[in-house]
C-alpha cells in the first residue's frame, strides 16, 4: 500500500474545538454523522464532541468529491513497515478486507456524487484475491490508482494489468512506495531485502510499460530537488527510463508515532483565525476515504474515531473539524495523497 506513514498518536491532541459558535461554521460533523459502524475498532462515539478546551479548530468544507480512496485490502499487508501510518501487517485486520460488492456500492455512491477518480490502498491491495476484478469494475467508471509496495508482481498479474490498462477508457496508475533511494534506508523501515524486491517489481512494471509512479517520503534533512534527482538517477539505472516520482511528507501517525513520536498539542491548527484559513490547501476539500469501517475524511485518518463521518458517502459530505496534528502537516505542506 501507500506509504502510509502516520496514524493518530496516543498523545495527539484531542478534545477541544467544538465547532458550535465558529464564525465560519456550517452544520457540524455531528449533524451528518450516522450511526457508528457495527463491530468496528473505531466504535468510539462520533464525532468527538468534548467541550472546547479554550480554543477552536478550522472547519474544512468538502467543495466537491474529486477523489475516493478505497482501503480495499484493509490493513492486511505482507510487510510490517516500522513507519506505517495505519499500522498494517501480516494477519492484521483492524480494518477488514472489503468485498467486491462493498467496493461496488461505494463506487456507485461516488459516481452519483460526480467523483473524478479512485485510489485503492490497504494494506497491500494485491493481497486481495479479487483485486483485478475490482479494478476492472471500477475502471468502467473512472481512472484508478493502486498504491502498492511493489513486491507481488508476477508475470501473470502484470500481463493482466497491462490488458486492463490498454482496454480501459480511463487511466490505470500503479504507485509504488519507496522509502529511500538506497537499499539500507528503505530496508531499515520496511525489512531486509524489501528494497531489492520492490525495485525488481518496478523494473517489471516498466517492462510492461505500466509507467509506475514512485512515491517516496521526504526527509527533513534532504533538499527535495536533490532527493528527487537521487530517486530519478537510481530508477533510471534500475531500468525505468521514464521515472515518475511523487514526494510526500512524513506523518506522525500509526507505527511512525510509536517509532519516533506523535504530534504534540502545539502541532495543530488550533485557533488559526478564520480569516487566515485557506480551505483550498487541504486535500479533504475534495476527498473521502472508505474502509470496512465506513467513510473517513481522508486516507490518513482512518484510525481516528473523530475522522469517521458515516457509513456511506452521502452521510459524509459535511464539513470536517481540523483538530488533528496530521491536518497541520497537510496544511503546512499543501500536500495531497493523490498523484498530482
Amino acid at each position: 500500500m501507500m506509504d502510509r506513514e502516520p496514524r493518530p498518536s496516543p498523545e495527539a491532541p484531542h478534545g477541544g474545538g467544538n465547532p458550535v459558535g465558529l464564525a465560519h461554521a456550517a452544520p457540524a460533523v455531528a449533524a451528518t454523522a450516522p450511526e457508528p459502524a457495527t463491530a468496528a475498532a473505531v466504535d468510539a462515539p462520533l464525532p468527538d464532541t468534548a467541550p472546547a478546551a479554550g480554543g477552536r479548530f478550522p472547519l474544512q468544507p468538502l467543495l466537491h468529491l474529486d477523489t475516493l480512496w478505497i482501503q480495499v485490502a484493509g490493513t492486511l499487508c505482507n510487510l510490517r513497515c516500522t513507519h506505517c501510518f495505519v499500522s498494517c501487517g501480516p494477519g492484521d485486520d483492524h480494518h477488514a478486507m472489503m468485498s467486491r460488492e462493498e467496493v461496488r456500492a461505494h463506487v456507485a455512491d461516488g459516481v452519483r456524487l460526480g467523483v473524478k477518480e479512485f485510489y485503492f490502498t490497504g494494506g497491500e491491495p494485491f493481497l486481495h484475491p479479487q483485486m483485478l476484478e475490482i479494478l476492472a469494475d471500477t475502471l468502467e467508471h473512472g481512472p484508478c490508482t493502486v498504491l502498492t509496495n511493489g513486491t507481488l508482481f508476477t508475470r501473470e498479474r502484470l500481463e493482466a494489468l497491462r490488458r486492463l490498462s490498454d482496454s480501459a477508457r480511463y487511466a490505470l496508475e500503479i504507485r509504488v512506495s519507496l522509502d529511500g533511494h538506497r537499499a539500507e534506508d528503505h530496508d531499515r523501515l520496511r525489512g531486509p531485502g524489501s528494497f531489492a524486491r520492490t525495485v525488481s517489481g518496478l523494473a517489471r512494471l516498466a517492462e510492461y510499460e505500466l509507467l509506475p509512479i514512485v512515491s517516496a517520503t521526504e526527509s527533513p534533512l534532504e533538499d527535495p530537488a536533490a532527493l528527487f534527482e537521487s530517486y530519478a538517477t537510481m530508477l533510471r539505472a534500475a531500468g525505468l527510463p521514464r521515472p515518475r516520482i511523487k514526494l510526500l511528507p512524513m506523518f506522525r501517525l500509526g507505527r511512525e508515532a510509536e517509532r519516533t513520536r506523535g504530534y504534540t498539542a502545539a502541532e495543530t491548527l488550533l485557533d488559526l483565525p478564520a480569516d487566515a484559513f485557506d480551505p483550498a490547501r487541504l486535500q479533504c476539500r475534495a476527498c473521502r476515504a472508505v474502509t470496512s469501517h465506513g467513510v473517513f475524511v481522508c486516507p490518513l485518518l482512518v484510525d481516528e474515531a473523530s475522522a469517521r463521518m458515516g457509513d456511506r458517502l452521502e452521510q459524509a459530505l459535511g464539513p470536517f473539524e481540523l483538530r488533528h496534528g496530521a491536518c497541520a502537516t497537510c496544511y503546512a505542506t499543501g500536500m495531497t495523497c493523490g498523484n498530482g
Partner: protein, 262 residues
C-alpha cells in the same frame, strides 16, 4: 447549414507566431463564424510580442490563461505547479524569457482579459475556460476525468458544452446526458503525437453539437531557427521538430504518457 454556427477554439499559442498565423488562416478558410483563443499566449517559443501583435491585430478575443495571468501581473513563475525539478527548470527558463520579452502594453492587456466566456448559440450554453471552469491551471486529461466528474462540472457551471485547453492534448467527450466537454489542445506546441502539426477545435453548433479537430501545418524550421537564435533550450526545439514532448511531462497520466516517446 444556415442554422449551424461554426466555432473555432484554440489554446496555448506559446509564442508560436507562425502556427498562430497558419491557424488563423485555416479558420478563415474553413469559414468559422466565431473564434476564441482559450489562453496562454506566451511560453516555450520565441518573441512573444510577435504572437501578441498578430492575435490582437486579428481581433480574435482571448481568455486569460495561467501564463497570461503570471506575465500580466509580473509573477515569479508560470503557475503550472510542477514538482519535478527538471520540469521546473525548463518552465522557469521559458517563463523568464517570456516575461522579459513581453511589452508592457501587452502585459497590461493580459491583465484585463476575462477568465471565462459564455457563448449562447442555438439555445445551448457554451462555457469557454482555460484549465477548467473551477480552476485556471487545472489539467483536464482525457483519461483522468470520469464521465461522472465531467457531468458534474457541466451541471455545476450550467453548461451544455465546456471548452478548455491548458493541457496541450486535444480530446472530446460526448457525455451520456448529451453535454460535451472539449479540450482543444494547443496550437503552439505539437500534441505529443510524433507529428509536427498542431491542432485546434472546430465546433458546429446547431440542432446537434459536432466536434472535429483540425490539423495545421506551419513553418517548423523557421521557428526552430528563431528559437535557437534566442538561445531557447534545445529540448524545446526537439519537441517542435519531432512532435514529441521532452519536458513538462510529469502531469501526464500513464495512458497519455505511454503514447509519447519520453
Amino acid at each position: 447549414m444556415a442554422d449551424v454556427t461554426r466555432v473555432a477554439l484554440f489554446g496555448g499559442i506559446y509564442s508560436n507566431y507562425l502556427a498562430l498565423t497558419a491557424a488563423l488562416r485555416h479558420m478563415r478558410r474553413r469559414g468559422a463564424d466565431v473564434a476564441w483563443c482559450l489562453g496562454d499566449l506566451g511560453g516555450f517559443g520565441p518573441h512573444p510580442d510577435r504572437a501578441a501583435d498578430i492575435l490582437r491585430g486579428s481581433l480574435v478575443p482571448m481568455l486569460r490563461g495561467n501564463y497570461d495571468e503570471s506575465v500580466g501581473l509580473g509573477r515569479g513563475d508560470c503557475g503550472c505547479g510542477y514538482s519535478d525539478p527538471r520540469d521546473n527548470r525548463f518552465a522557469q527558463l521559458s517563463y523568464d524569457y517570456t516575461l522579459a520579452n513581453t511589452h508592457a502594453v501587452h502585459r497590461e492587456w493580459m491583465k484585463g482579459l476575462p477568465e471565462q466566456q459564455r457563448l449562447e448559440i442555438a439555445g445551448r450554453s457554451l462555457l469557454l475556460c482555460h484549465g477548467s471552469p473551477r480552476q485556471t491551471n487545472e489539467f483536464l486529461w482525457e483519461s483522468a476525468c470520469s464521465d461522472a466528474f465531467l457531468e458534474w462540472l457541466c451541471e455545476r457551471h450550467q453548461a451544455d458544452v465546456i471548452a478548455c485547453a491548458h493541457s496541450g492534448i486535444p480530446w472530446h467527450r460526448a457525455l451520456p446526458s448529451g453535454r460535451h466537454v472539449v479540450n482543444v489542445g494547443a496550437i503552439g506546441r505539437p500534441a505529443n503525437d510524433g507529428c509536427t502539426e498542431v491542432w485546434y477545435g472546430e465546433l458546429e453548433v446547431g440542432a446537434d453539437v459536432r466536434v472535429e479537430f483540425r490539423r495545421v501545418e506551419y513553418d517548423v524550421e523557421t521557428l526552430a531557427r528563431d528559437m535557437a537564435r534566442e538561445a531557447l533550450p534545445p529540448e524545446f526545439i526537439e519537441t517542435i521538430r519531432t512532435g514529441w514532448w521532452t519536458t513538462c511531462l510529469e502531469n501526464l497520466p500513464a495512458k497519455e504518457r505511454r503514447r509519447g516517446r519520453h
